[in-house]
């Protein structure tokens, strides 16, 4: 096992509990994006360019959008509910 693979695996193993331990969903969207980039590095080092491409697009744009949009809708409905 080359050292690059060990470093990439260590980054991924470090990133997963960090995502879980971030309790606020907005901040978690950002940490999840960084975890996605570390997964992309791991996929590239494991000689898998195709999953790396799809993971990059999905975790870079897809996940942050759906998470932040969900949080925004929850907050807007909460604000609407307490005004009633």
């Amino acid at each position: 096992m080359i050292p690059l693979q060990i470093v990439a695996l260590a980054l991924v193993a470090l990133g997963a509990p960090l995502v879980v331990l971030t309790r606020d969903p907005l901040r978690q969207a950002l940490v999840n994006g960084i975890y996605g980039v570390s997964l992309v590095c791991l996929f590239v080092v494991l000689e898998a360019p195709d999953p790396a491409l799809s993971m990059l697009a999905v975790s870079g744009i897809g996940y942050p959008l759906v998470i932040v949009a969900a949080v925004a809708r929850v907050r807007a409905r909460d604000r609407g509910r307490e005004d009633e």
Partner: protein
């Protein structure tokens, strides 16, 4: 050291499950679910790795040289794209629960009756 990738995959899965069980927010729960799913990607790609193998794209690579397994890569790449839509569906369910029950806390969902 030669079992490290499998151990990392198992660790990520356990961490994700612990996050799902102790979550106080349905949106946080959905993201922890996606972390659990990423453990399966790490496991698949680690199983398919060939020592000193290159990527299975034969442009500039001589035919017959050592390359990693393409089947697990095909499985992983479709799975990643589909998981985006599935997590979107789970978030839509969370939004629906919030609309009906007024809260995104999974522990307090059963108290609010419609």
């Amino acid at each position: 050291m030669s079992y490290l990738p499998y151990a990392v995959a198992a660790w990520i899965c356990l961490v994700g499950i612990a996050g799902i069980a102790t979550s106080k927010n349905l949106i946080h729960l959905a993201v922890c679910l996606s972390v659990t799913q990423s453990a399966s990607y790490v496991l698949l790609l680690a199983v398919g790795y060939v020592k000193h193998g290159k990527a299975p794209i034969f442009v500039g690579l001589k035919l017959g040289s050592k390359a990693v397994d393409p089947v697990v890569q095909a499985l992983t790449l479709t799975d990643v794209v589909v998981s985006l839509a599935v997590i979107g569906l789970i978030l839509a369910l969370a939004l629906d629960a919030h609309r009906l029950a007024g809260t995104v806390d999974p522990d307090r969902l059963h108290e609010a009756q419609g």
